[in-house]
């Protein structure tokens, strides 16, 4: 099945609901090593993106995704807000001419997210960030074929979970967590958790609609 504008709006809506639910959880997680505002940022940006998309008359799906990114950049321009915004903007650019996302296009979508994060965050794998989930996830999809979004995202969610788990052993290089040095080991990264939640939520969307 191909994902059109209305389905993508639906995905943004479940992301809005999920990140609203996870607000306190992410605040607590971020308070261990960060400023404690991650839950606020994430609930704000997905609420803004979903609300704006709902009223949008945009017919290009790529442009809708890109505009969602721009909305996020305004809604909460903190580090993670800006990174997620850049990820969506680049994912939108990659899919610019498309009116729908085919199964094989999800690799392009996550590839775009990856390039947006690299460009803005100047990070690489192993630095205990959102990139440690988004980058391997994008690469994972490159040589795979799936027969449904449901199987794609189920597979991707379990792979993302393993990537998230690996951030436990990493030492933070960015943001406030970098102040902790060696002590930042032992916890999964809060930003990487956001990437995992994003994938898991999309998976549940397809699980529910399949």
């Amino acid at each position: 099945m191909a994902i059109g504008i209305d389905e993508f709006k639906g995905i943004l809506k479940v992301l809005k609901e999920r990140f609203a639910e996870k607000k306190e959880y992410l605040i607590e997680m971020d308070s261990i090593m960060g400023d404690g505002d991650l839950g606020i940022t994430m609930s704000k940006i997905f609420a803004a993106a979903a609300d704006e998309a709902e009223d949008s008359t945009e017919t290009s799906l790529g442009k809708l995704i890109m505009k969602s990114g721009m909305t996020m950049a305004k809604a909460a321009p903190s580090t993670m807000g800006t990174l997620m915004a850049s990820a969506f903007m680049d994912a939108g650019k990659v899919l610019k001419e498309k009116e729908s996302i085919e199964i094989s296009d999800w690799s392009l979508f996550f590839g775009g997210m990856k390039s947006g994060i690299v460009k803005r965050g100047k990070t690489k794998v192993g630095e205990k960030t959102i990139f440690d989930v988004l980058s391997p996830v994008a690469d994972y999809l490159l040589d795979k074929n799936y027969d449904s979004e449901k199987t794609l995202f189920e597979d991707l969610t379990s792979y993302a979970a393993s990537c998230l788990e690996k951030t436990k052993d990493m030492e933070a290089q960015h943001g406030k967590a970098a102040c902790f040095g060696e002590k930042s080991k032992g916890h999964v990264d809060a930003g990487a958790t956001v990437a995992y939640l994003l994938i898991e939520t999309i998976s549940e969307y397809f699980g529910a609609t399949a």
Binding site: S31, D37, I40, P77, S78, T79, T82, L83, K176, C179
Partner: protein, 334 residues
């Protein structure tokens, strides 16, 4: 949480409304966005200096917008970067044909948004340069100074760059001076109690009644040592030792000293600390040109503070001496 506010979500916005109501002769905003704050009387032909950062640090950042200091500030929500669009709006408003210097602290959200603003400003043919300040000795070790976070010492960079821009110097010159000031500042902080982000509603860390943390940042970034409460003398000795050896500041140097309170520490305690600071400097043969004591960069109701030193040369000293005025800070000719 015990704070005076109407709605936690509107904390930054209501603060800004109060500021514009109180200082209509000095400050205004552009593009119908209270977060885009600029100085009212811009000087023709002068390099614009724009700063930005999260709310919750007054007088940092917007409090240094005024004569002889900065021209504009993009104001974020509490501890959050302003958006690139807000930075761009401020940039366009203060640009006077000589380009704009972006002068801000070393925080990833701010860096990303100022960089995005530069990309957008280029579309409008506005030249921007970046100066990222990070002088908190405790936030990263020697050899990794580029990772250090910007705290109260950024005031000295504002002061020197602002005074230089007032001489109608070029963008490159203003940047050079700012870099020189930044290279000569070191800060160490400490905290006795946490702060609360209004929207979060609870402290992001806890300290026992008899504990303090040395090296704490202005968002509660962890320090390098948690310890039982020290005397002023013991505390200042620890802070000064780290600061002095880091640059290092040597016998015969002349410095400015900045004793900054984080929000809940009374000035009396800062003066007790200054007495100890001055004694150490005298013992080391380091001369104090001027002491700045008060709240320069706060973290809402956090108790604690920081000491910063700026090593002077003739050029920086001349710029520090210049008078300046903002609703939050004014200084006569020194």
């Amino acid at each position: 949480m015990k704070k005076i506010l109407n709605n936690p979500k509107e904390f930054a916005l209501d603060t800004l409304k109060g500021i514009y109501a109180a200082h209509p002769q000095d400050l205004t905003f552009v593009e119908d966005d209270l977060h885009c704050l600029i100085k009212k009387d811009l000087v023709k032909g002068k390099v614009g200096i724009v700063t930005g950062g999260g709310s919750g640090h007054l007088p940092l950042f917007l409090g240094y917008v005024g004569d002889g200091l900065l021209d504009g500030c993009a104001v974020g929500d509490v501890f959050q970067s302003p958006s690139s669009e807000q930075i761009l709006n401020v940039t366009k408003a203060v640009e006077q044909g000589q380009g704009v210097l972006y002068l801000y602290g070393n925080y990833s959200g701010d860096i990303m948004n100022f960089e995005m603003a530069t990309e957008m400003a280029e579309m409008d043919d506005i030249r921007t340069e970046h100066l990222v300040c990070g002088e908190d000795v405790a936030s990263s070790k020697k050899g990794e100074e580029h990772k250090r976070r910007g705290v109260a010492g950024i005031f000295f960079v504002y002061k020197c760059a602002g005074a230089k821009a007032d001489e109608l110097a070029s963008l490159d010159e203003v940047k050079r001076i700012g870099e020189k000031a930044a290279a000569n500042v070191r800060t160490m902080g400490f905290a006795l109690s946490p702060c609360i982000i209004p929207e979060v509603g609870k402290p992001s860390f806890t300290l026992a009644d008899d504990e303090m943390e040395i090296g704490m940042g202005i968002h509660g970034e962890p320090g390098i040592n948690r310890t039982k409460l020290l005397t002023a003398k013991e505390l200042v000795q620890i802070l000064m030792e780290k600061i002095i050896e880091d640059l290092p500041y040597n016998k015969g140097d002349e410095v400015c000293v900045l004793l900054n309170g984080l929000g809940s520490t009374p000035k009396e305690e800062l003066y007790i600390m200054y007495k100890e600071t001055a004694e150490i400097l005298e013992m080391k043969g380091i001369k104090v040109f001027h002491a700045f004591i008060g709240e320069i960069a706060t973290s809402m109701e956090m108790a604690g503070g920081s000491i910063s030193l700026l090593k002077l040369d003739d050029e920086l000293k001349k710029l520090i001496k210049k008078p300046c005025y903002t609703p939050f800070y004014c200084q006569k000719e020194l």
